[in-house]
C-alpha cells in the first residue's frame, strides 16, 4: 500500500479545468478526506514548472506516491513519467469533467470531488509492481514443423542470433513443398512457374549450427510456459530441452478428395490436384483433354466453407505445366472467381494468353462417365447458359485443412464431465501436448484455425508464447507463408526477451504487474483455472490453482472470477476498486440526486468516452466511471459493494463478444456479461430491480452514441425509487 502520508495530490487548473470547477475545493477534499500529505494546484502541470514541482517533491523524499488530477492518462504520458521513483496515478478531470460538464454547476463540482475521493483511496491501495521473473529462462525457440514456414522461421531466428530446436514429424525436412514439381512465381515478372528450390532451404537449415533439427520426432509433452517451456520428445531416443517460445508451423493437409463424390471423385479419370501435381512432377504426360474444377470442396458448406486461397493460382500453374508437357493438350478451367490477388494477377494474364487454355466461370459443375470419356457440365458460363465439356481427365482443385484438425480424434470423457475446452479438443490433432489444465492444444476458431485477433494482431494465439505461422494459421501461398514465418519468429524472439525482464507481452506489453494468489483462503472452486482466456493457470490434484505466471497476459480475468477475492495485483485489486466505489459522497435519499456507477473497459469504451469529451459532448454528471483493465476483471463483489453503498444504477461498458469478438483478452466482456446475469440473486436479496444493471458493448468509435445511451439509462434510473441502502 502506498504511504498516504507520503502521497502528494497535484491538481491542474489548465485546459479549462479551473473555469469549470473550484480546484481549491478539490485540493481540500484531497487533504481533508483523502488525508494525503499535501495537495498542490497549478495552472499548467504539464509545463516545465509543473513537472519540476513534482520531480522536486519526489527527489526531496517528500512523496513516494504521486496522484495527478489533470488530463487523461492517454496524453502527457511521457511528461508524467517518473519511472520507478514513485507510485503514479492519474485522475482525469479534463476530458471527463472540464470538457464534458456544465461549468460551475453543483453536480459538476460534486463529480470532480468524487473523482478526487476515488483517486485518493485508489492510490492508497496501489504499490509499485515487482516483476515476476521465472527461474532459468531460455532464449531458445522451438519451431514445430519443418516445411517452408517452419524452416524459414528457424533460419530467421538463427540469423538474429537465437538458438532453434526444429521438430519435424516426418523423416525429412521440406513438408508439402517436397511433392511439388514447379512452384508459383514469387518474383517479378511473375509470368511463369519457377524451379522448386525447397532443397536449398533444407540445406541452409541443416548447415546452420544454431539450428538443431529433430526428424521423425513426436512431442511427448510441453510443460511450463513462456521462457520455461520444458519439451520432451522422442525420435527413436527420448530427448528433452527447454525453450522460451514456440512457433507452430505444422502446415495443412489437402482436403480429402474422396469426399467429393458429387464431383465424381469416385470415377476413373477424376483426380485431385495433389495427385495431378505428382503426375507432373514425375514427368507423366498428361492426357489430351483436361478439365480443372476449381473450388472443389472449398467455398462449400458441405465441405470447407472458406476459400483455400491458393487453388486458383496453383491450378493455373498446373494447367500451364500440362500444356508444356503436352502441347497437344487442351485445358479447360472452370472457376467461380479467379482469385489471383496482387502480383499473381500477372501470371493469370500470362495463362490467359495461352490459346490452349480455356478459362470460364461456371457454377454447379457435374461430372459423369460417358463410355471411356468424362463429361463435365456447368451452368452460367461465359459461353452463355449451360455448357458441356468432354474430357479424358478431370482435376479437382482441393483445398487446405489446417493440420491442427484431425476428425478421428475423440475425447475420452463422459459428456456430463466435459468442459468447453474438452469439447474443443474433439477432432483436433495432437501436436503440442501442452501440459495445460485447459487442454493440450492451441484453441481454435470455428473453422479450425488457431484463434487470434486475426485483423490487427494475427499472431496472438490464446496460448502466450506460442505463435502460429503459415497455412496452419490461414490458407496462404508459400511466399506469404515465408513472410508469415519470419513475423512469427519475431514474436517468439520478443517473447524470449520480454519474459526474463518480467514484462508482459502483447497486448499489455511491458506491464510488470501480475496476479498474486492468497492461497490460504482458496476454496478450490476452479473458477480461475477455467476462465483464464489464456490457460495460464494449472491445477494440482486437490484443484488448487497453480498460476504459471509467464503465460499470464495480465488481463485480470482471474481476479474477476474469484468468488473469495484472493487474486489481486499490486496496482490493481479488488480492495482498491472496492474502496473507490465506497469513497464517493453519496447524496441522501431525499435529495433526488441519483448516482450511477459505470465500470468501463479502459481499452475501447474509455477512449470513446474521452473522445466524447474532446468533441465537447455533455456526459451525464451523475455517472462516475471506474476504468477496468478488461471487463473480465469485474468481480461481483464490486456490484454487491455498489448496491449496498447506495448507488442507484450500474453500467458495464465493455467490448463486443461472440464470433467477431473485439475484447483484447478474447473472453473478458463475455465473462463479465455472464457474471452480471448472476447478480439477480443479490438484487433479489436486497429487493432491488434488475433494470438497475445495464450491460452494453461500446466500440471506440461509439463516442457520439455513448452520451445518449448513458442519458437513457440515467433517465430510467431516475424514474425508479432511490436505492434504499443510501446512508448505510
Amino acid at each position: 500500500m502506498a504511504d498516504i502520508t507520503k502521497t502528494g495530490a497535484y491538481i491542474c487548473s489548465g485546459c479549462g479545468i479551473g473555469d469549470c470547477v473550484n480546484v481549491e475545493a478539490l485540493a481540500t477534499v484531497a487533504t481533508k478526506e483523502g488525508k494525503v500529505a499535501f495537495a498542490k494546484t497549478h495552472p499548467m502541470l504539464c509545463g516545465a514548472e509543473g513537472v519540476a514541482l513534482i520531480k522536486g517533491d519526489i527527489a526531496s523524499g517528500a512523496v513516494t506516491a504521486v496522484s495527478i488530477a489533470a488530463c487523461s492518462p492517454r496524453v502527457c504520458y511521457d511528461i508524467f513519467d517518473f519511472g520507478e521513483s514513485a507510485v503514479l496515478d492519474r485522475i482525469d478531470i479534463r476530458e471527463k469533467v472540464a470538457w464534458s460538464q456544465e461549468p460551475g454547476h453543483l453536480e459538476t463540482q460534486a463529480l470532480a470531488e468524487d473523482y478526487i475521493r476515488m483517486g485518493m483511496v485508489k492510490i492508497k491501495a496501489m504499490e509499485l509492481p515487482v516483476p515476476f521473473i521465472p527461474e532459468e529462462p531460455s532464449k531458445t525457440i522451438m519451431v514445430v514443423g519443418g516445411g517452408i514456414a517452419g524452416m524459414t522461421a528457424a533460419l530467421n531466428a538463427a540469423k538474429a542470433g537465437y538458438k532453434v530446436e526444429l521438430v519435424e514429424k516426418e523423416p525429412a525436412l521440406g513438408g508439402f513443398a517436397n511433392s511439388l514439381g514447379m512452384r508459383l512465381p514469387d518474383k517479378a515478372p511473375y509470368d511463369a512457374p519457377m524451379e522448386n528450390d525447397i532443397g536449398q532451404l533444407v540445406e541452409d537449415v541443416i548447415g546452420d549450427d544454431y539450428i538443431n533439427v529433430h526428424l521423425g520426432a513426436t512431442i511427448n509433452k510441453v510443460s511450463g510456459g513462456p521462457g520455461i517451456f520444458d519439451v520432451s520428445l522422442s525420435n527413436g531416443t527420448d530427448k528433452a530441452f527447454r525453450a522460451g517460445a514456440i512457433v507452430l508451423a505444422t502446415g495443412f493437409n489437402p482436403y480429402d478428395v474422396k469426399k467429393l463424390t458429387k464431383l465424381g471423385a469416385d470415377l476413373p479419370g477424376v483426380v485431385g490436384s495433389v495427385e495431378f501435381e505428382s503426375m507432373l512432377k514425375e514427368g507423366k504426360a498428361p492426357p489430351k483433354r483436361i478439365v480443372f474444377i476449381l473450388c472443389a470442396g472449398s467455398r462449400d458448406d458441405e465441405h470447407l466453407p472458406y476459400c483455400s486461397s491458393v487453388c486458383c493460382a496453383s491450378s493455373l500453374k498446373q494447367a500451364w505445366l500440362a500444356r508444356q508437357a503436352n502441347p497437344e493438350a487442351s485445358v479447360t478451367v472452370i472457376y467461380r472467381d479467379i482469385r489471383t490477388t496482387g502480383n499473381m494477377e500477372f501470371f493469370y494474364k500470362q495463362v490467359q494468353q495461352d490459346p490452349g487454355i480455356f478459362l470460364t466461370k461456371g457454377e454447379t459443375p457435374q461430372v459423369a462417365r460417358e463410355g471411356d470419356e468424362l463429361s463435365v457440365t456447368a451452368e452460367n458460363t461465359l459461353l452463355g447458359g449451360k455448357v458441356k465439356f468432354m474430357a479424358d481427365m478431370v482435376v479437382l482443385a482441393t483445398g487446405m485443412v489446417p493440420s491442427t484438425l484431425d476428425p478421428s480424434v475423440k475425447v475420452d470423457k463422459p459428456e456430463d464431465q466435459m468442459q468447453d475446452f474438452d469439447r474443443d479438443q474433439v477432432g483436433k490433432a495432437s501436436i503440442l501436448k501442452l501440459d495445460y489444465r485447459q487442454g493440450p492444444e492451441v484453441p481454435d476458431l470455428k473453422l479450425g484455425f488457431p484463434d487470434s485477433h486475426f485483423i490487427c494482431f494475427p499472431y496472438e494465439t490464446r496460448r502466450t508464447g506460442i505463435y502460429a505461422a503459415g497455412t496452419v494459421r490461414h490458407p496462404m501461398d508459400a511466399s506469404v507463408a515465408k513472410n508469415d514465418a519470419i513475423g512469427a519468429a519475431m514474436k517468439a524472439i520478443q517473447c524470449v526477451e520480454m519474459v526474463p525482464r518480467g514484462e508482459a507481452v502483447h497486448p499489455r506489453a511491458r506491464d510488470l504487474s501480475h496476479p498474486e494468489f492468497a492461497m490460504e483462503r482458496c476454496t478450490q472452486c476452479k473458477r480461475c483455472t477455467v476462465e483464464c482466456p489464456f490457460g495460464a493457470i494449472n491445477e494440482d490434484e486437490k484443484t488448487n490453482p497453480i498460476p504459471v505466471k509467464s503465460r499470464c497476459r495480465r488481463c485480470a480475468t482471474c481476479m474477476g472470477a474469484c468468488p473469495v477475492q484472493i487474486i489481486n495485483f499490486k496496482n490493481y485489486s479488488i480492495p482498491m476498486v472496492g474502496a473507490m466505489i465506497k469513497a464517493i459522497d453519496m447524496p441522501d435519499e431525499d435529495e433526488e440526486r441519483p448516482r450511477v456507477l459505470a465500470f468501463i473497459c479502459e481499452n475501447d469504451a474509455m477512449p470513446a468516452l474521452e473522445m466524447a469529451g474532446i468533441n465537447r459532448l455533455r456526459i451525464n454528471p451523475v455517472v462516475r466511471f471506474v476504468p477496468l483493465r478488461c471487463m473480465g476483471s469485474l468481480n461481483l463483489q464490486w456490484i454487491a459493494d455498489a448496491l449496498s453503498s447506495g448507488w442507484d444504477g450500474i453500467m458495464l461498458l465493455g467490448c463486443k463478444h461472440g464470433d467477431d469478438y473485439q475484447c483484447h483478452n478474447v473472453k473478458g466482456s463475455e465473462l463479465a456479461t455472464i457474471r452480471a446475469s448472476k447478480v439477480q440473486e443479490t438484487l433479489d436479496r436486497l429487493m432491488l430491480e434488475s433494470e438497475r444493471i445495464l450491460v452494453d458493448a461500446v466500440q471506440i468509435s461509439d463516442w457520439q452514441r455513448l452520451p445518449k445511451m448513458i442519458d437513457g439509462f440515467v433517465e430510467q434510473i431516475s424514474e425508479m425509487e432511490p436505492n434504499p441502502y443510501k446512508g448505510f
Binding site: 530467421n156 490487427c456 490458407p475 513472410n483 512469427a488 519468429a489 519475431m490
Partner: protein
C-alpha cells in the same frame, strides 16, 4: 507502427518517421474494417498504447527522410521536420480553433469538410496536438491564436528542423494513396458529383467525418436509395494499375454493408470481374450474397453518365445474365485501387518494381526492408504480418552473429 513496435518491444531502439502530423496512416481515417466491421481505431489505439508504454520508440511526425547514406548495419539518415507551428506545450484544449478566422479544406477528410487553419486532425490523433496549415494561415499579422493560447504553444516563426540519426536498418512502410480515378475517363469521377471513390466512402461512414457517419448523396445531401460499387476502378488494367489491389472487392462488400445498414430499403449493385474474397473472407462475401438487396453483377462497367436529376447512370455488361444493364444510382462508389506512395521515398536507396512497389528481391540483403502496402497491395492483417517480419529483418541487420 507495427514494425517499429515489434522491434522496440524486443528491445531495439527505433525512430518512427511520419510525414503527416499524426500516426495511423490511411486506416485511422476508415470507418470499419472488413470482415468484422469493427472500428480501426480499436487496433490503432492498442498500438498507441504500446507506443506510450515504450520509450524506445522516438516518434517524429511532420517529418520525412531527406537522405540516407551508408550500408547495412551502419546507415546515417537526415530527417527534415516541417514546422508544425505548434510545439510540445500544446494541450489540444482547442481555444485557438475558436478564434482562428480562416478555414481550410481538410485533407484528412479528402476535402469534404473544412477545418480552421489551426486544427486537430482527429479526436484520436496521436500525438494529441494541433497543427497549423501555413498555406492558409494569415501569419503574424493575425496571430489571434497566439494571443489566446495560455500555454505558449504556438510559434508562427517555427522553422524546418534537420535531425541526423544512425541506424542499422531502414524499413520503408510508406503505404499507398488512392489511385486518381479522374484518370479513368469513362467513370466520370470529378465530373459527376455523385460519383465518389472508396476512401471518400470511408469518411462518409465515419462518425468523425463530414456527414457524421451518414451516407448521403453528394449533390443534395439526400439519403440514397440505389448505390453502385464499381470494381477494379483502375486496377487490373494495363493503362492504369496492372496488378490487382487485393482489397477493393472486400472493401466494396464492406461498403455495401454500410449502405444496407443505414437504409434498409436501399439496393446496392456491385459490378465486378472476379469477386476476390480469399481465405476466411469468403464468409463475409457469402453473408452479403444472402442479402437479396445486394446485387452482384459480373461485368465490366462501360461508362457512367449523369442524368437530369443528378443521378449517376451506370452502363455495364452483364456476363451471366447476358446483354447490357443500365442502373440509375444516387451514389456510385469507385473501388479505386491502392497505388504505392513510392515517389516520396525515391531518394532513399530503395529499389522499385515498375509499379512502384519496393520488393525484397530487388533490395537483396542490403538492410533495406519494405513492408505493408509499400511492398505490395495488402490488407491490414497481411500488412501487420509482413511488418512483423520486417522488424525481424531489421533486427538481423544489427545482430552480431
Amino acid at each position: 507502427m507495427t514494425a517499429a513496435l515489434e522491434a522496440a518491444e524486443m528491445g531495439r531502439k527505433v525512430t518512427l518517421v511520419e510525414r503527416e502530423p499524426y500516426l495511423g496512416g490511411r486506416v485511422i481515417r476508415m470507418a470499419k474494417y472488413f470482415p468484422k466491421l469493427c472500428p480501426p481505431g480499436c487496433g490503432t489505439e492498442i498500438n498507441f498504447r504500446r507506443l506510450r508504454a515504450n520509450p524506445r520508440v522516438t516518434i517524429m511526425v511532420d517529418s520525412q527522410v531527406a537522405s540516407i547514406t551508408g550500408a547495412r548495419g551502419d546507415f546515417t539518415a537526415t530527417i527534415k521536420t516541417r514546422p508544425r507551428y505548434v510545439n510540445e506545450k500544446c494541450t489540444a484544449c482547442g481555444d485557438c480553433e475558436k478564434v482562428c478566422p480562416v478555414e481550410r479544406s481538410d485533407s484528412y477528410n479528402y476535402g469534404m469538410k473544412n477545418t480552421k487553419a489551426i486544427y486537430l486532425a482527429d479526436a484520436l490523433a496521436m500525438p494529441f496536438r494541433h497543427s497549423i496549415d501555413m498555406s492558409v494561415c494569415k501569419g503574424a499579422d493575425c496571430g489571434e491564436c497566439v494571443k489566446v493560447c495560455k500555454y505558449e504553444a504556438i510559434d508562427l516563426a517555427m522553422e524546418e528542423k534537420t535531425t541526423t540519426i544512425t541506424a542499422s536498418a531502414v524499413v520503408h512502410a510508406t503505404g499507398w494513396k488512392p489511385y486518381d480515378a479522374s484518370r479513368i475517363e469513362n467513370l466520370g469521377y470529378g465530373q459527376i458529383k455523385n460519383v465518389i471513390n472508396n476512401v471518400e466512402m470511408e469518411r462518409l461512414a465515419s462518425v468523425s467525418g463530414p456527414t457524421e457517419g451518414r451516407i448521403l448523396r453528394r449533390d443534395n445531401g439526400e439519403p440514397p436509395s440505389v448505390v453502385a460499387m464499381v470494381q477494379c476502378a483502375g486496377s487490373r488494367d494495363e493503362n492504369h494499375l496492372p496488378y490487382c489491389s487485393s482489397i477493393c472487392c472486400l472493401v466494396s462488400i464492406k461498403h455495401a454493408n454500410y449502405v444496407r445498414e443505414q437504409y434498409p430499403d436501399s439496393d446496392v449493385y456491385v459490378f465486378y470481374i472476379d469477386l476476390r474474397a480469399p481465405g476466411k473472407y469468403e464468409s463475409f462475401y457469402r453473408k452479403a450474397m444472402e442479402d437479396p438487396k445486394i446485387h452482384f453483377i459480373k461485368g465490366k462497367v462501360a461508362r457512367i453518365e449523369e442524368d437530369e436529376s443528378g443521378r449517376a447512370v451506370v452502363t455495364a455488361e452483364d456476363i451471366i445474365g447476358g446483354g447490357k444493364t443500365r442502373v440509375a444510382c444516387d451514389l456510385v462508389v469507385l473501388a479505386t485501387g491502392m497505388e504505392p506512395e513510392s515517389k516520396s521515398v525515391a531518394p532513399l536507396m530503395a529499389k522499385f518494381n515498375p509499379d512502384g512497389f519496393i520488393l525484397e528481391e530487388l533490395q537483396g540483403d542490403a538492410g533495406l526492408i519494405a513492408c505493408g502496402v509499400a511492398s505490395g497491395p495488402f490488407d491490414v492483417t497481411t500488412s501487420t504480418q509482413n511488418s512483423t517480419a520486417a522488424a525481424l529483418k531489421a533486427v538481423q541487420a544489427g545482430a552480431r552473429r
